[in-house]
């Protein structure tokens, strides 16, 4: 699954640690999601979408 997390984070000038704090997850989690090593659960995907004020499909797309 592809995602735009890194771009969205950069647009807000947030570090991985900043985003991790906002999502209440570890920085490693943010890194793993950004790099496509880990696909988040639906509840976490919703939290990410809510944080950016976007729909899940605006952040995560099908594909490798």
């Amino acid at each position: 699954m592809k995602n735009r997390l890194k771009v969205l984070r950069a647009e807000r000038d947030w570090s991985q640690a900043d985003l991790a704090d906002k999502l209440e997850v570890s920085r490693q989690s943010v890194n793993a999601i950004e790099t496509g090593k880990y696909d988040p659960s639906l509840p976490l995907a919703f939290r990410i979408a809510d944080l950016f004020g976007l729909a899940i499909e605006d952040i995560f797309q099908r594909g490798e």
């Binding site: 209440e24 997850v25 570890s26 490693q28 890194n31 793993a32 999601i33 790099t35 090593k37 976490l44």
Partner: protein, 137 residues
């Protein structure tokens, strides 16, 4: 395992430290008991079991950590680490058992399975570290 400063990890570390202290005390105490008293029957069995209890406690503490980790990625990593440890322990124990059954290796106590499993946790940690590399900022 990552995020070692989470409350769940702090509780895990404290619990494991206490259990390891209990293990050392039980092992020393039971050895002295067997040397000085040469127990038999039920008391011997109960005493011999004592050092195993803190180790079993460590398994329970590891299970509790897995169940209580709030960070789902950390749970994923820990699950993979435990699966690698279990596969490693079962594979080595199975291979050793067959070679031993043909008289090519000496018999070893069954508690070595636990040692293998803990070694497998280290192996799983290495796998997690290698697969998780890259992308840090």
């Amino acid at each position: 395992m990552l995020a070692r400063h989470s409350p769940e990890h702090r509780r895990y570390t404290a619990s494991v430290a206490a259990l390891m202290g209990g293990y050392v005390a039980a092992l020393v105490g039971v050895n002295l008991f067997f040397e000085n008293s040469a127990p038999t029957g039920l008391s011997a069995y109960l005493a011999a079991l004592l050092p195993a209890l803190p180790i079993i406690g460590v398994f329970l503490v590891i299970g509790r950590l897995l169940l209580t980790l709030r960070d789902e990625y950390q749970r994923f990593l820990m699950t993979r680490q435990i699966l690698i440890a279990t596969g490693f322990m079962l594979s080595v124990a199975t291979a050793y058992g067959f070679v031993e059954s043909f008289g090519l290796l000496p018999h070893v106590p069954a508690f070595y399975a636990a040692i293998l499993w803990f070694g497998g946790l280290g192996l799983g940690g290495c796998v997690n570290a290698v697969l998780g590399r890259g992308g840090e900022e």
